[in-house]
């Protein structure tokens, strides 16, 4: 399998590690003091997955390369990649110019 890192270009699967579905959003990411009221939301975030047979947006880490976290769109039936973007905070971004 080959993954095209937006920073490094096309690389072999061996350079990447996988985390999984990129859809779940961490409840209350930024600030504030979460309490029990968030348990359900966190349970969903940590444990439940759509696990589709088809297109999946997923987190990959280019640990064997530039150390950027990536968000790839891949078909889980064919392994074919449709797109690979950088995670919002990869490099120095958010940034007007190049990363």
């Amino acid at each position: 399998m080959r993954i095209t890192c937006p920073f490094c270009g096309e690389r072999d699967l061996g350079e990447f590690t996988y985390l999984g579905d990129a859809a779940p959003q961490r409840p209350l990411g930024a600030s504030g003091v979460p309490g029990p009221e968030l348990e359900e939301a966190f349970y969903d975030y940590v444990y439940l997955r759509d696990n589709p047979a088809g297109l999946l947006r997923e987190h990959w880490y280019h640990g064997g390369g530039c150390r950027a976290w990536l968000i790839a769109t891949r078909d889980t039936r064919s392994h074919a990649f449709q797109a690979v973007e950088a995670a919002p905070g990869a490099g120095a971004s958010p940034d007007g110019g190049a990363r």
């Binding site: 920073f7 490094c8 270009g9 690389r11 072999d12 061996g14 350079e15 640990g63 064997g64 390369g65 530039c66 150390r67 950027a68 950088a86 990869a90 490099g91 120095a92 971004s93 958010p94 940034d95 007007g96 110019g97 190049a98 990363r99």
Partner: protein, 206 residues
């Protein structure tokens, strides 16, 4: 009272004396050289600070740092891309207390600066058969057009991270430079020499 003696341990020195013999070819197909340590500083642009970092670097080195996987050769330094928004500075600046101090001031507020002078070992792989030998270690396409002089990459060899770039060719072929993690250096050196053996390899320190 005895003063402590701070003799610096040159990288891989032991192995190059005790390296296992390899087929001799004349001229050798591959030349493996462990480069003398240089100042090595990792510069990481702050959030939204890449442009400012580029300007600061231009001021320091006379040319902008790489913003793509490239190595920039300036008058007295080599700037190697090491990831998005960051690069490595390799030069011969006088070893002072804190090698990174000067750069830290220069990049104050625009980039974070970390000294890696002892964190990596610089190895050069050159010679007619350098590419054939590296094909055994490196999954990248190092052929001339695909990996031109000045191209750089952050990749891995034997599951360990390396930074590599291509220097201008010399009389008998391409020249590649690697930065490998110091604690992995001996392991990788074995791999390099074993892979070079069939082509006849010359090994040395510089």
């Amino acid at each position: 009272m005895a003063e402590p003696a701070w003799t610096e341990q040159p990288p891989l020195a032991r192995l190059i004396e005790a390296g296992r013999p390899v087929a001799s070819a004349d001229p050798p197909g591959v030349r493996l050289t462990v480069r003398a340590p240089r100042r090595l500083v990792q510069v990481m642009a702050r959030r939204g600070g890449f442009r400012a970092t580029v300007d600061a670097a231009r001021g320091l080195f006379g040319s902008p740092p790489p913003s793509r996987p490239e190595a920039v050769f300036t008058a007295d330094a080599t700037l190697v891309w090491s990831g998005p928004g960051q690069f490595l500075v390799l030069d011969h600046a006088e070893p002072i207390d804190d090698p990174a101090a000067a750069l830290r001031t220069a990049f104050a507020g625009t980039a974070s600066v970390v000294d890696q002078s002892h964190g990596r070992v610089e190895i050069e792989v050159a010679g007619r058969q350098a590419r054939a030998m590296l094909a055994k270690l490196c999954s990248l396409d190092l052929a001339a057009p695909a990996f031109a002089v000045g191209a750089a990459a952050a990749t891995s060899i034997d599951h360990t991270n390396v930074t590599l770039w291509r220097e201008p060719d010399d009389s008998d072929g391409p020249v590649f430079r690697f930065l490998v993690f110091s604690t992995f250096a001996e392991s990788l050196w074995h791999l390099f020499t074993a892979s070079a053996a069939e082509f006849g390899a010359a090994k040395g320190l510089r």
